[in-house]
């Protein structure tokens, strides 16, 4: 009886995630700042898990940043989203997988809205047809790319070369996870674990052997705030939000931060650099920063992929301290090369953040 009761209770915190046959939608931010994360996601799904994922060249932004910066209307965003669904439908897919939490929130909001207001869906169908001649089916399943990785976390960990264990001490690495505001704040039942017990990242990190840190500002926003970052005059808001998190997590001595949303790793990475330049303050150990990884980068690293093939050279906070703790071997010169091994030359290395 007790076990059944628990099962019923926890059902509220589960979500259905399709097994296979995914239509993938790239992210505005992730493809610019973490292209290797998207490459790694597709590689793990296609080559390791043998899944069918379609990467359609015709798809575009969902307009999410513009929508949440209030320069396009809900109607415009819904119609662009309807076009994405039309592309999915035309290729014979029913499972939609965005690579962005802002997009995931928007798709969820729109699908919920249409369910409760079918007259709005009808209007959008009409507008899309008028604009493009396209028609669509609503996805049978919507899952963020991290939901898929979470679903197959045991299989991925089973194929992995590394664990989140300090190779010198044998102790679990200490992980801060940041799931991003629009993953479960707006529609908690659409996120794994809901808004109260989100485990899409913590579950992944623990499967890799890490210790997940709880800290006071764990659920606070990274500070993107859309217009609060895009406009230079407003960036005090953005860095203040991130700083509040760094100050709160630092006493727990995290070895790394892992993230869900494409924007959060950009801010948690960049603002550490800025604070080091402005105040001479760093939040990692020995004058280092705290490395920030996306969930795809973390998974690829555990699989034993070359860190410079998954894009870790694009981070402003050096990842080498983390690689050394895990025991990942890397070539420092390869960090600054193209796929053919031709060197680009090195970027200027900031003085305030130590690499090792």
């Amino acid at each position: 009886m007790i076990s059944e009761g628990k099962k019923t209770l926890w059902n509220d915190y589960q979500k259905e995630i399709a097994d296979d046959n995914y239509f993938y939608a790239r992210s505005c931010i992730r493809q610019n700042f973490f292209p290797g994360a998207e490459k790694t996601f597709l590689k793990i799904l296609k080559e390791e898990l043998k899944k069918d994922v379609y990467d359609d060249p015709r798809h575009t932004t969902c307009t999410g940043i513009a929508y949440h910066s209030d320069v396009v209307s809900l109607e415009t965003t819904m119609t662009v989203v309807a076009r994405q669904f039309a592309l999915m439908t035309e290729r014979g897919y029913r499972n939609f997988v965005p690579s962005c939490i802002t997009s995931f929130g928007i798709y969820t909001e729109i699908m919920e809205l249409w369910e409760h207001h079918p007259e709005i869906e009808d209007k959008i169908r009409h507008l899309l047809f008028k604009a493009t001649g396209r028609e669509f089916k609503v996805p049978a399943n919507l899952a963020h790319s991290s939901d898929i990785i979470y679903k197959y976390r045991n299989e991925i960990a089973g194929m992995s070369k590394f664990k989140l264990i300090n190779k010198n001490t044998g102790a679990p690495l200490r992980v801060v996870e940041h799931i991003g505001c629009h993953y479960a704040r707006m529609f908690p039942h659409k996120g794994i674990g809901g808004a109260e017990y989100p485990c899409v990242l913590s579950g992944l990190a623990e499967t890799f052997g890490a210790e997940v840190i709880d800290y006071p500002e764990r659920r606070a926003c990274c500070g993107f705030g859309f217009r609060q970052y895009v406009i230079q005059a407003n960036r005090g808001y953005s860095i203040s939000c991130s700083k509040r998190k760094f100050e709160s997590m630092a006493p727990y001595k995290p070895d790394l931060i892992i993230t869900n949303c494409p924007g959060c790793p950009y801010f948690l990475d960049s603002w550490q650099y800025v604070i080091s330049e402005m105040e001479g303050k760093t939040y990692g150990q020995k004058g280092q920063g705290i490395p920030v990884l996306t969930f795809e980068e973390l998974s690829g690293l555990m699989m034993g992929y070359n860190p410079w093939d998954i894009g870790l050279q694009m981070h402003q906070i050096p990842v080498e301290p983390l690689l050394d703790k895990i025991g990942v071997e890397y070539q420092q010169d390869d960090k600054y090369c193209d796929a053919q091994g031709r060197t680009f030359g090195k970027p200027v290395i900031p003085e305030m953040i130590k690499i090792c």
Binding site: R26, C28, Q31, N32, P35, G36, K39, D55, D56, P57, R58, T60, T61, T63, G64, A66, S69, D70, V71, V72, S73, L74, T79, R83, H117, L128, K130, A131, T132, C181, M186, P188, A220, G225, F226, R227, Q228, V230, Q232, A233, N234, G236, Y237, S240, R244, S270, V274, G311, M314, Q316, D338, A339, R342, F344, G345, K346, P347, V348, I349, P350
Partner: protein, 238 residues
């Protein structure tokens, strides 16, 4: 036409976002914007709930409605199921429609947002593109970003990109027919006329402030709205 409350009610987000606020202040307690700005979502819910068009007009002309970061933390925690973040989105839409956005420093930023994001979507198919991000306007990106820009093609292509080329992949060139479809959607959903309206209201405001608004990237009014900060937005205890 001072029927602002009725116009707010015609926005589905306003209807979904505000039922009956009990003024408990949970939204303000959880709100990041309220931590740093002179901002109180509870107060805004009370003001719009009053259905007083003069009060709403003052809000539409104020900096206040532009402080929210739309993180939607308020939605999770409101015991009444309200979402002040959605109320804000409806207020911002009405402020843009009425042209009142140009009456506040934070509201005037709408022009820059429209040009940066709207231009990127229609020209590149995405809200952001490395080729159109001006590194000088983003010093927070650090030296690594300058290095990425300088070596974009080789670096992106190592990392699964298909930089500025046809076919799938990160930062691929979006085909002209796909960009035309986006523009057509923007046409039929009146996003293009909204953009024109933002330009028109901003040009008139620029003129009244002694500027002559142009389409140039280094336009002085654009630069002003992008960077101006009176320093009067902070929460008083900070």
């Amino acid at each position: 036409m001072k029927n602002y409350f009725q116009r707010l009610k015609s926005d589905i987000r306003f209807e979904e976002g505000l039922r009956a606020c009990i003024n408990c202040g949970t939204c303000t307690a959880i709100c990041p914007a309220a931590s740093f700005y002179d901002y109180d979502p509870k107060k805004i819910a009370t003001q719009v709930q009053s259905a007083n068009d003069e009060v709403i007009e003052a809000l539409l002309k104020s900096d206040t409605i532009w402080y929210c970061g739309e993180c939607m933390s308020c939605k999770t925690r409101c015991p009444r199921g309200n979402t002040p973040g959605l109320i804000i989105m409806a207020l911002r839409q009405l402020s843009i429609e009425t042209g009142f956005f140009v009456e506040s420093e934070k509201g005037r930023q709408v022009l820059a947002l429209k040009r940066i994001l709207g231009g990127s979507i229609l020209n590149r198919g995405y809200c952001v593109h490395i080729s159109t991000m001006n590194h000088a306007l983003h010093p927070e990106q650090g030296p690594v970003w300058g290095w990425i820009r300088d070596n974009a093609k080789g670096l992106y292509n190592r990392l699964g990109g298909n930089f500025e080329e046809e076919g799938p992949g990160a930062l691929r060139k979006i085909a002209d027919e796909d960009l035309k479809e986006l523009e057509s959607i923007f046409e039929v959903t009146q996003a293009l006329s909204r953009f024109e309206s933002i330009e028109k209201f901003s040009a008139a405001k620029a003129k009244s402030m002694g500027y002559n608004l142009t389409e140039k990237a280094d336009d002085p009014y654009f630069q002003m709205v992008y960077t101006a900060n009176s320093g009067k937005h902070k929460k008083s205890r900070l």
